[in-house]
């Protein structure tokens, strides 16, 4: 199969609010808010669902990649 991932609306308070890329349990985003460091916030909303995440910055470029778990 071809898996091109998808986009979803991600909110990380003080860090990001907008579309993020998702694929294989990872999400990618470029921070667009400056109230908190992306690696200091470990919770957010993905398409309205609460998630726990741990973000790290790519060595090259503006992107942050995070592993995430959805709370149900």
């Amino acid at each position: 199969m071809i898996d091109n991932g998808r986009r979803a609306h991600l909110v990380i308070e003080g860090v990001f609010d907008g579309p993020a890329g998702l694929q294989g349990g990872l999400l990618a985003f470029v921070p667009n808010l400056t109230d908190a460091r992306p690696d200091a916030v470990h919770g957010g909303l993905l398409d309205g669902m609460p998630i726990r995440l741990t973000a790290s910055k790519d060595p090259v470029g503006p992107f942050w990649t995070a592993r995430y778990e959805v709370f149900r």
């Binding site: 199969m1 071809i2 898996d3 091109n4 991932g5 998808r6 986009r7 579309p19 993020a20 890329g21 998702l22 694929q23 294989g24 990872l26 999400l27 990618a28 985003f29 470029v30 790290s56 910055k57 790519d58 060595p59 090259v60 470029g61 503006p62 992107f63 990649t65």
Partner: protein, 170 residues
């Protein structure tokens, strides 16, 4: 996901095809600069987060408005008479999903195994809305593209390798 896949297929107007495995064979059209050879022993240099250590890059970089084939060459991993019989999976990563970069899902550009059974060809597509993103300026972005194939050996073997595509304005 469906919206994204449909958006990719709009480029060529076909019905999206995402289910595999892909077993179609034919002549690959990619040049050697668009062919990446899989190393039997992979080195361990790191390129970026979420890119496997030592993943080989395609020499020819990709302009976001391009629509050209790229090839995985598995010949170094296969025995002399061993052939690839199916492409089980092709994945991009989350950054590619964010930027609207994906493997073409139009049947006309479906993943293809070359007639010798050693190489596999895929086409990439970037949604037009992303063509002018600042992320593609200067050095652009490096994206891991992962392919899993099965062979006709007895017992059957399976290989999954990742190659790195650099997408930037050319």
């Amino acid at each position: 996901m469906l919206t994204h896949l449909i958006a990719l297929a709009i480029l060529t107007g076909g019905e999206p095809v995402t289910d595999g495995p892909f077993t179609q064979t034919g002549e690959v059209a990619a040049s050697k600069e668009r062919t990446v050879t899989m190393s039997p022993v992979q080195p361990s240099d790191q390129k970026s987060v979420a890119i496997p250590l030592g993943a080989s890059p395609w020499l020819q970089q990709y302009d976001p408005a391009d629509h050209t084939p790229y090839v995985f060459d598995f010949s170094g991993l296969l025995g002399n008479s061993e052939k690839i019989v199916s492409i089980e999976a092709v994945n991009v990563n989350a950054t590619a999903a964010l930027l609207g970069i994906g493997v073409e899902v139009d049947p006309l550009y479906a993943p293809l195994i070359d007639t010798a059974g050693k190489k596999c060809q895929i086409w990439f597509a970037v949604i037009p809305a992303s063509w002018d993103l600042p992320s593609f300026d200067a050095a652009g972005v490096m994206l891991p593209i992962t392919m899993r194939v099965a062979t006709d050996s007895t017992p059957p073997k399976r290989y999954e390798r990742t190659a790195v595509l650099t997408v930037r304005q050319l």
